[in-house]
């Protein structure tokens, strides 16, 4: 701070006034002595001066009492200081240790990238409708800790230390957080959360495509509470549409895109109470096959052509409970569950004679995207396999990234664009089973699928959003050193031996707050193998256990038959037109509104 001390320049003028009487002027008196002169002096102050740390000028003032024309120090009566300004910027030389640091350079590059991103966003004066294509990726149960751990695992598989790695969608320019709670639940389920993302409203847990006025399980409460989804709006807009999931395609997350149901478990008619059937409610699989007719019936004047690409698991809900309908891929005596005798796969093929129905890898591989207009792929009787377990499938299944790539290649044949939702459904299941290996491995495959989408689309006309429906009670704990295997036991900084807990036993970095707990199943790639074993929550001596093996199940604190969801916010990543609308912490239902706005799916009065 500048410190001015204003001096008072004292100039003494002596004037004596004598009283005068009328009469002759007197003689001119002798000249008086010269008055003293006031002088100022300036002294440059060096850096580190007592009064001016950054240097400056000392301004002294006083009477030149010895009349030598100079103001000596002893004649200075007042000193003011004009200090040099403090240093506001440093030269690169001064910052050498900082600017040459790789982390520092990486941060500077990120700022440049962000600057460009915001300039692009600002340049678009009217964002509405700029996204020709929209892809919504949902990692089921992919909370922030799952993303972090998967990022490290992917990095370590690449030969990196791991922590510095980024999954494909973590490189997206914009991100934010979503509050996941359901209207009636602090910790949510997939039905309520995906309905929020697809329909733009928050609703109760366990219900699909309906608002909170619904009574779960009450068929009669559906009518009048149906919401319209982004996929339906895209259909109405003439875009191509697609749904992909590694879970059953009738499972809650994919079903929220197309079904209206008072109960997520009504996947086929055998799952429904007879009362609900009698009241006219339609099971979820049937709603998928009848999507076109149902939408046209609900929306007067609408003419749509149905969902163009559907791929996932869940054949059981489309086939009659009759061994005669078993496929070569059947994994039970009677593959189908339907008690009404309907073969929905046959109905779909009769309805869409130009369509391709496939059930295995060979059928999938035979699909030529350029000439395919419609595809139904049901690759498993129930959920599709974990990515690590795919090779054990009887007839073979495509990976999530393969399905994503092929779906886009089919959907982008429509010049009006497309809407696609892609779910990695088994991240959630691996967590429920307490098996971090499969949860992270499927997250890595999910990131690969996102990369496929990035590579197959134009960022100028395609909005890609990546998020999760909810989190899990999955933790990254302890103080492992940098580069410590993320699936391994905690080894502290500077140490080579595993850290020991108060009980004298080592512990893993990854763990669960609740669930089934420890299992050492070696090379087992099916996380669900643990369900046939006893619950083993609590501490176990892991000294001689390979915790990085696919079949290792992490310890859990609270014993339960199944590990649970968690209630914290999830991350949302976005790229493409309208992506910058994804910022801050918002209700999960905002995701629908971003997609709706960016793609111009509805007219805003």
């Amino acid at each position: 701070m500048k410190n001015f001390k204003n001096s008072v320049v004292a100039i003494a003028v002596v004037c004596s006034l004598a009283a005068c009487e009328d009469g002759e002027n007197g003689a001119v008196g002798a000249n008086g002595a010269n008055g003293k002169i006031s002088l100022i002096s300036q002294t440059t102050l060096p850096l580190g001066n007592e009064f001016c740390k950054n240097g400056g000028i000392a301004v002294g003032s006083g009477i030149d009492s010895n009349d030598d024309g100079n103001l000596s120090n002893d004649e200075v009566t007042i000193t003011n200081y004009v200090c040099a300004d403090t240093v506001k910027t440093l030269s690169s030389d001064s910052l050498a240790t900082s600017v040459t640091n790789d982390w520092f350079k990486q941060g500077e590059n990120s700022i440049k990238t962000a600057e460009v991103n915001w300039q692009r966003a600002d340049a678009i004066k009217d964002l509405r409708g700029k996204a020709k294509n929209v892809i919504l990726f949902v990692g089921d149960g992919m909370g922030v800790s799952t993303i972090t751990a998967a990022r490290i695992l992917e990095g370590q598989r690449k030969g990196m230390l791991g922590e510095e790695n980024s999954l494909s969608f973590e490189k997206f320019p914009f991100s934010g957080f979503a509050k996941t709670y359901n209207v009636d639940a602090q910790t949510p389920d997939s039905a309520g959360t995906m309905t929020a993302m697809m329909s733009g409203i928050k609703t109760d847990a366990g219900v699909l495509g309906v608002d909170e006025d619904i009574q779960r399980g009450d068929c009669t409460s559906v009518t009048g509470n149906e919401m319209t989804t982004a996929l339906e709006l895209a259909e109405i807009a003439g875009k191509s549409t697609g749904i992909i999931s590694t879970a059953r395609i009738t499972h809650a997350t994919p079903a929220a895109a197309y079904a209206k149901s008072a109960e997520r478990n009504w996947e086929d008619i055998s799952d429904m109470p007879s009362e609900a059937v009698a009241q006219g409610c339609e099971d979820i699989a049937s709603q998928l096959v009848n999507f076109e007719a149902n939408l046209e019936a609900r929306m007067t004047g609408v003419d749509v052509d149905g969902i163009d690409v559907v791929m996932g698991g869940g054949r059981r809900h489309f086939l009659p409970k009759d061994a005669a309908f078993n496929s070569i891929d059947a994994e039970s005596e009677k593959e189908g569950d339907r008690s009404d005798g309907r073969d929905l796969t046959a109905e779909w093929q009769a309805k869409y004679t130009d369509g391709n129905f496939v059930i295995d890898q060979a059928g999938f591989d035979a699909i030529t995207p350029a000439t395919t207009t419609r595809l139904l792929g049901l690759f498993n009787e129930s959920h599709m396999r974990y990515e690590a377990d795919r090779e054990n499938d009887v007839a073979g299944e495509p990976s999530l990234s393969e399905m994503t790539s092929k779906a886009i290649d089919i959907l982008d044949n429509n010049e009006k664009g497309f809407f696609l939702t892609v779910e990695s459904g088994r991240i959630d299941h691996a967590h429920h089973a307490g098996n971090a290996y499969n949860a992270l491995n499927d997250t890595i495959e999910f990131a690969k699928a996102v990369q496929m989408a990035i590579d197959s689309t134009n960022p100028e006309d395609t909005l890609i959003i990546v998020t999760a429906d909810h989190s899990h009670v999955f933790t990254i704990a302890g103080y492992p050193k940098r580069g410590n295997p993320i699936l391994g036991k905690v080894v502290g900084v500077g140490k080579t031996e595993a850290s020991l807990a108060k009980d004298g036993m080592p512990y893993t970095t990854l763990g669960y707050t609740n669930g089934r707990g420890y299992q050492n199943l070696g090379a087992e790639t099916d996380a669900d193998a643990t369900y046939e074993l006893d619950i083993a929550a609590g501490r176990v001596d892991l000294s001689n256990v390979d915790t990085t093996a696919a079949g290792f199940h992490q310890e859990a604190l609270v014993p339960r038959s199944s590990e649970t969801h968690a209630g914290e916010d999830v991350a949302v990543f976005a790229s493409g037109p309208g992506a910058y609308l994804v910022t801050g912490t918002n209700e999960q239902s905002l995701i629908f509104h971003v997609m709706n706005y960016a793609a111009g799916l509805t007219v805003n009065d």
Binding site: S332, E333, S382, H383, H429, H432, A433, D528, I535, S561
Partner: protein, 248 residues
């Protein structure tokens, strides 16, 4: 104390089985076997209070071609061997009329035989064959074994044609676990019904349990745990595994 019961005596005890078998029409792939399980103390003092010490339980084993149903109280399990040799398991909770379906898995022959016969061939063949005799149409074999170190004695009466346990007794440190075949069901309709009634139960995929917190049945299962022992193999009336230890 080593307990030895002669073959003659055992054949007398199970004479009702012999009668049933005399029709010679029974098929090892299509039958139902009802067992009575008894846990008891065998020393003289405790035997005076047998009513207090004994535990009874009924169990049954059903076979229908490549399907096996094991019933243990109000919990039961169906196993189905697929044409590709994978085995799919479904756990039933008869009281709730609900089922949990598990993914088909590959399974060793020993494990499949343990489910289907209650004892794998390799284990049975490692026991000492102390007698063999045709009774009616079927060959019955008596196996005995003991392990002095663990004070364990066992005997198994085996129907070699039907691959079925007729009687199994394991005695260890004064405690005796006993399986006794009570009845063999041949009626195809009755056998089919045992399977069919459980097929009608509402099923839940094992992987979906965690997503169904509001389901009262699943909440109960989540809190109490699922079926543990007794779903296959040999267990006692309390559902505890019966280890067939022996000297080779």
């Amino acid at each position: 104390m080593k307990s030895i019961i002669s073959l003659t005596l055992m054949f007398t005890v199970v004479s009702f089985v012999t009668k049933a078998e005399q029709a010679c029409q029974m098929n090892e792939d299509l039958l139902g076997a009802h067992y009575k399980l008894v846990n008891s103390q065998v020393n003289a003092v405790k035997r005076k209070h047998a009513n207090e010490q004994e535990t009874f339980k009924l169990s049954s084993l059903w076979r229908m071609n490549q399907k096996v149903l094991s019933v243990n109280g109000d919990q039961s399990t169906t196993w189905f061997k697929l044409s590709n040799d994978l085995v799919q398991k479904t756990a039933h909770f008869d009281h709730f009329q609900r089922s949990i379906e598990y993914q088909a898995k590959s399974m060793s022959n020993d494990r499949w035989q343990q489910i289907r016969q209650l004892i794998p061939n390799s284990k049975r063949q490692s026991l000492r064959l102390s007698g063999s005799k045709f009774k009616g149409c079927y060959q019955q074999e008596l196996y005995q074994w003991e392990n002095e170190a663990s004070n364990l004695h066992g005997k198994l009466l085996w129907n070699a044609n039907l691959k079925l346990i007729i009687e199994l007794t394991i005695t260890q440190r004064g405690r005796q676990n006993h399986w006794q075949l009570e009845e063999i069901v041949q009626d195809a309709k009755v056998i089919a019904l045992a399977f069919a009634k459980r097929e009608k139960y509402q099923t839940t995929d094992f992987a979906d349990i965690g997503d169904n917190e509001s389901d009262p049945f699943l909440i109960k299962m989540i809190n109490l745990g699922f079926i543990k022992h007794g779903s296959s193999g040999i267990y006692n009336a309390k559902g505890e595994n019966m280890a067939i230890e022996h000297n080779h």
